[in-house]
């Protein structure tokens, strides 16, 4: 089996790529456009702008890791490829945040699920928020285009047992289920997507749009942190950036000044509002960092009679939207059902116990099946999201109080997932909750769930989907950018990532980011080329 690493090939062919850690003196560089961030949004934007003939500089705080580094090793991957070495949490520590920090951003480490923005969500944006240009019909060509670019289609191999149990549970209870579209080409079905794809099968930014941009003469700086956009009168004049040392977290003291005609911020729903706040970008209505969404995720674990081996095989291939929009887009909190892969460190980090209880749960790993629910946030007045602000050191932090409205949705999701697992033949089920025991029947689990407190630090919550914080909208009074990602106050500033979503998506956001970034970058490219 031959595996071609596009990054290795490109570096050998002379791409313009600089490791911030190698810089020993300050310098100034200049381009038509500076793109901050190299994930779903930044990669897409850079490729489209570079193909249009514009000079582009990409700035990435994390490292450049590629096939040689992807050895299916949990500890090494979590330490190097994730924000804060996988220790990122919300301000009060109640929600763990899984987010990439490397070239390719979260697309380098995600589990490849690639959904179009649900029509209900786009219709809500069009009808309730006045963004008719984002209707499902208007967006369809952009989804088509990105599905081709990233080789996205429903997975055709059999689901692994972990995913198949979700399918079986849904069949037993009469709930709908479907196959997940994945962005892969020649996938080996190994199960290590979260550690960086070892075979380059994953068609994330790292293997598609980043090489595409660099082939078109874009320049990439990695281990370079975007500190501050500096205005001159009503425009951004330059970006001040700090080179990081080889450890990736300590600035070396060397700075890079990046000048450009236009700046595209694509540093994620935590990083982008953070950068705008640090830069004191005009924000007359105090909107930056507000309405941040997470798809708060809760999970259940089940011990099955037969081996599940949740560490092998495409990590996500089956989902159920039975409860996502059932009660209306702005009714009670709906949720999407999926499964997570479980390797030993991930499992040990998620299961919230110690001692015998932990040892027993870990010993059952090969028989363990897990389900998770992504709760839609931001569609209801009682789900206003969280707020990104700056710590004393200038780093962004997300404060996300979980509202009673969301707790109700999370309890319902616990209920549904345990019911599904028992329907699929689980011997015992546990809620991922500090106070949960293992329950050996559905009635026992249901009765226990009624007594479990739905409260921060008791329910273990997670997220891999950060959205909002630079929300788009018609009016500057309630948004940061317009529906093309163009900043309301600053003409040469655009935001092209999940931070512009005015609500959560109700599905894994990668394809939504690709499509919006492609649409908005194409428009920007024609504007800048004139």
């Amino acid at each position: 089996m031959s595996v071609i690493d596009p990054i290795e090939q490109g570096l050998e062919s002379g791409w313009s790529v600089t490791d911030g850690a190698s810089l020993t003196e300050n310098r100034t560089v200049e381009a038509d456009v500076v793109v901050i961030g190299t994930g779903a949004g930044g990669g897409t934007s850079a490729e489209i702008l570079a193909r249009a003939g514009l000079s582009v500089i990409l700035v990435e705080e994390g490292g450049l890791y590629h096939q040689k580094d992807f050895k299916m090793d949990e500890l090494a991957s979590y330490a190097s490829l994730y924000q804060d070495g996988m220790s990122r949490v919300t301000r009060d520590g109640a929600i763990a945040i899984l987010q990439g920090r490397c070239v390719g951003g979260s697309t380098t480490v995600n589990w490849t699920s690639s959904f179009r923005t649900p029509e209900a969500t786009l219709n809500y944006w069009a009808n309730q928020l006045g963004m008719e240009d984002l209707s499902p019909d208007a967006m369809a060509p952009w989804f088509d285009g990105r599905e081709k670019r990233h080789n996205i289609s429903p997975w055709t191999m059999d689901p692994n047992t972990n995913n198949d149990i979700l399918r079986q549970g849904c069949e037993k209870l009469g709930y709908s289920w479907q196959t997940i579209p994945r962005n892969v080409k020649g996938c080996w079905d190994l199960g290590y997507c979260g550690f960086g794809c070892p075979t380059n099968a994953k068609q994330g930014a790292l293997t598609t749009t980043i090489p595409g941009a660099l082939e078109n003469n874009a320049t990439l700086f990695y281990r370079l942190r975007a500190d501050r956009l500096v205005m001159a009168q009503d425009r951004i004049d330059h970006l001040l950036a700090s080179a990081m040392t080889e450890d990736g977290v300590t600035p070396s003291g060397v700075t890079v000044t990046l000048k450009a005609r236009h700046f595209v911020v694509a540093a994620s729903a935590i990083g982008s509002p953070g950068l705008l706040l640090r830069s004191d970008i005009p924000d007359p209505y105090n909107r930056v960092g507000k309405r941040s969404f997470l798809h708060p995720v809760n999970a259940t674990t089940a011990v099955m009679a037969d081996k599940v081996e949740p560490f092998y095989g495409a990590p996500q291939s089956i989902y159920s939207d039975e409860f996502n929009f059932k009660e209306g887009v702005d009714g009670p909190a709906g949720f999407k059902l999926e499964v997570p892969p479980l390797h030993p460190a991930m499992a040990a980090g998620v299961v919230p116990h110690h001692g015998q209880q932990q040892a027993d749960a870990m010993a059952n790993l090969p028989w363990t099946q897990s389900m998770l629910a992504l709760v839609r946030d931001g569609f209801h007045a009682d789900s206003p999201g969280g707020t990104v602000s700056l710590r004393d050191d200038g780093s962004p932090v997300l404060d996300y109080p979980v509202s009673d409205y969301l707790w109700t949705g999370l309890r319902k999701a616990f209920h549904t997932m345990a019911e599904l697992q028992f329907a699929a033949g689980a011997r015992k089920v546990s809620f991922v909750h500090m106070d949960s025991a293992w329950y050996s029947s559905w009635p026992e689990a249901r009765a226990a769930l009624d007594e479990l407190p739905m409260a921060p630090h008791r329910v273990r919550l997670f997220t891999a989907h950060q959205m909002g914080g630079c929300g788009m909208g018609q009016k500057p009074e309630d948004s940061v950018v317009n529906s093309f990602g163009q900043h309301h106050q600053v003409a040469n500033l655009s935001v092209h990532d999940a931070s512009i979503f005015p609500t959560s998506i109700g599905a894994n956001p990668q394809l939504s980011v690709y499509a919006l970034a492609a649409r908005n970058s194409s428009r920007l490219a024609s504007k800048l080329s004139n």
């Binding site: 390797h343 110690h354 010993a363 790993l365 090969p366 780093s395 500090m434 630090h457």
Partner: protein
């Protein structure tokens, strides 16, 4: 809520705090922990990373250089690991010491990637546990860490796990999570979770495994 420079006052503030208001303002905990850290620094207890575990203590090739954990932090983890990892730590004393020592090294290595904000949160937590006065008043651990029994360590962990104060739950999760990940995530402990490792056929076929 008022904060004072001296620890006894801060502590009595802490114990007098109305629980609801404390929970509402997570910042209260942060401020309190800052007070502890500042007081420690002022009293000359400022901490710096340990050089390495002693060769005698670990019976290991002690090349690992600690980047974050101090000598006191290491004592804390040496006391807590037997409770956290019971019953899967080896019983044979030397094997046990080696597993504990290598897990603590991986904990340190993991933390070195956390970035400054999360490192300083963890620093406050470990300072609070390491400083005698707060170890007794806040964690209610009476013995110094090298003298803490597994039963005492377990009781401490359970108190913080089941506490109604979010700050303590958070401390529990931080300690347990970094330990569990560092322990169960390592190849030597994979058999404990029945994880066979990455598929051998794939490793044999992939270039990144053939350069060793």
């Amino acid at each position: 809520m008022k904060h004072h420079a001296s620890i006894p006052d801060a502590t009595s503030d802490f114990t007098r705090l109305d629980r609801r208001s404390f929970l509402k303002t997570g910042i209260g905990g942060t401020l309190f922990l800052s007070t502890v850290s500042t007081s420690m620094a002022l009293s000359g207890c400022a901490s710096s990373p340990s050089e390495r575990l002693t060769a005698v203590g670990t019976r290991m090739d002690a090349r690992y250089r600690f980047q974050f954990l101090t000598d006191t932090d290491i004592e804390i983890f040496e006391a807590l690991l037997p409770a956290m990892l019971a019953p899967v730590l080896p019983e044979q004393p030397q094997a046990r010491r080696q597993v504990v020592a290598s897990t603590i090294e991986r904990i340190d290595s993991g933390i070195s990637h956390f970035g400054p904000p999360n490192q300083s949160e963890l620093r406050r937590l470990l300072d609070l546990l390491g400083f005698g006065f707060t170890r007794v008043t806040i964690a209610r651990v009476w013995s110094s860490w090298p003298n803490v029994s597994t039963a005492e360590a377990d009781a401490f962990l359970r108190r913080w796990q089941s506490s109604r104060i979010g700050l303590f739950n958070n401390g529990y999760m931080a300690l347990v999570k970094i330990t569990n990940v560092a322990f169960y995530g390592h190849q030597d402990q994979w058999p404990l979770s029945g994880y066979p490792g990455p598929p051998r056929w794939a490793m044999e076929a992939l270039p990144q495994f053939n350069n060793a």
